[in-house]
């Protein structure tokens, strides 16, 4: 296990987020016990809740994609970290286009049984919250 395999499997697993794969592939990359913090929900979700949330959201977009920037891959033992900036952008139905910039951390675990990486923690986090109210004055 190394950063190359982590990057390759992350880009394949998260491909659906940038329109290069299927939702099923994306969900298959997520462990059943994964904890997810999404950019538009103020509480942690499990995989089933996250899947339901994605189904809702995609039904209300004409088009949407998630663009990572400045992505770092880190491996320590069987733990992989993907740390990235991102822009969520697209066109909701019945509304103007949207750009939503954020920071994301994807925690992965290398499963010795399958020989592959799986996502065990996701945090999608708008940058806005790090600026608004960051200081008292």
């Amino acid at each position: 296990m190394n950063t190359s395999t982590l990057e390759a499997e992350f880009r394949q697993g998260f491909g659906w987020y940038w329109n290069q794969g299927t939702l099923q592939q994306f969900l298959a990359f997520i462990d059943e016990r994964c904890v997810i913090i999404d950019d538009d929900v103020p509480f942690p979700m499990d995989k089933a809740q996250f899947s339901d949330h994605l189904q809702f959201r995609r039904s209300h977009w004409e088009s949407v994609s998630w663009i990572p920037y400045d992505t770092l891959f880190e491996v320590a033992g069987d733990t992989g970290i993907v740390s990235t900036a991102f822009t969520l952008r697209g066109k909701p139905k019945g509304s103007g286009f949207r750009l939503r910039h954020g920071l994301a951390t994807v925690i992965c675990h290398h499963d010795s049984a399958t020989g592959g990486w799986r996502t065990v923690g996701i945090t999608m986090d708008p940058i806005q919250g790090h600026i608004e109210g960051a200081s008292p004055a």
């Binding site: 462990d31 016990r33 904890v35 913090i37 999404d38 950019d39 538009d40 929900v41 103020p42 509480f43 942690p44 770092l72 880190e74 320590a76 033992g77 069987d78 733990t79 970290i81 740390s83 900036a85 909701p92 019945g94 509304s95 103007g96 949207r98 939503r100 920071l103 951390t105 925690i107 992965c108 675990h109 290398h110 499963d111 010795s112 065990v120 923690g121 996701i122 945090t123 986090d125 708008p126 940058i127 806005q128 919250g129 790090h130 600026i131 608004e132 109210g133 960051a134 200081s135 008292p136 004055a137």
Partner: protein, 169 residues
């Protein structure tokens, strides 16, 4: 001595009032953990306790040498060195008191990978300003090393950013 596990004000060497009710709000992750998850939860609880006790050496000692942090008041990732410098600013006399209080946490072990995620309240009293409440979500990645569990990554996400303009209408 205050043992509520909730304040870092004494890190500055300035005596201030403890935060009333902090111990009630904070919750131990290990209380709800079972099986292999318990070891991760206990490592998290020890880190939180070190922070609230002002034992910075133990707090930073819980962090992996390649630790990275996205803090709630900074819009980019920080290394361990940068995070320590950031904390130095916060404990350098700009607060009367403040505390980081995990309220609801989930701890899970996946082999030698640990995940802790949940809700926390950052609260306190800056000097020359009114009190502050900053609720947030957070996630942490832990790795099991020979010396025990170490914190590899910590990402804090203010709830204001999650709810502000979350939808187009």
């Amino acid at each position: 001595m205050d043992t509520s596990g909730s304040r870092r004000d004494f890190l500055t060497g300035v005596a201030v009032a403890p935060l009333a009710g902090a111990a009630t709000l904070a919750a131990a992750a290990s209380a709800g953990a079972t099986g292999p998850d318990t070891a991760v939860a206990l490592a998290f609880d020890r880190m939180v306790q070190a922070l609230s006790d002002g034992k910075l050496e133990a707090f930073y000692g819980a962090m992996h040498e390649r630790f990275q942090m996205i803090d709630e008041d900074s819009p980019w990732r920080m290394s361990k060195t940068a995070f320590k410098e950031h904390i130095s600013f916060h404990i350098g006399g700009v607060w009367d008191s403040f505390a980081w209080l995990p309220v609801s946490t989930t701890a899970r072990a996946f082999g030698r990978t640990g995940v802790v995620a949940g809700t926390a309240m950052f609260r306190g009293k800056p000097k020359d300003a009114g009190f502050r409440l900053r609720p947030l979500l957070f996630s942490q990645a832990w790795v099991q090393a020979d010396a025990g569990w170490q914190l590899l990554n910590w990402h804090q996400s203010p709830i204001v950013g999650l709810v502000s303009r979350a939808s187009p209408t």
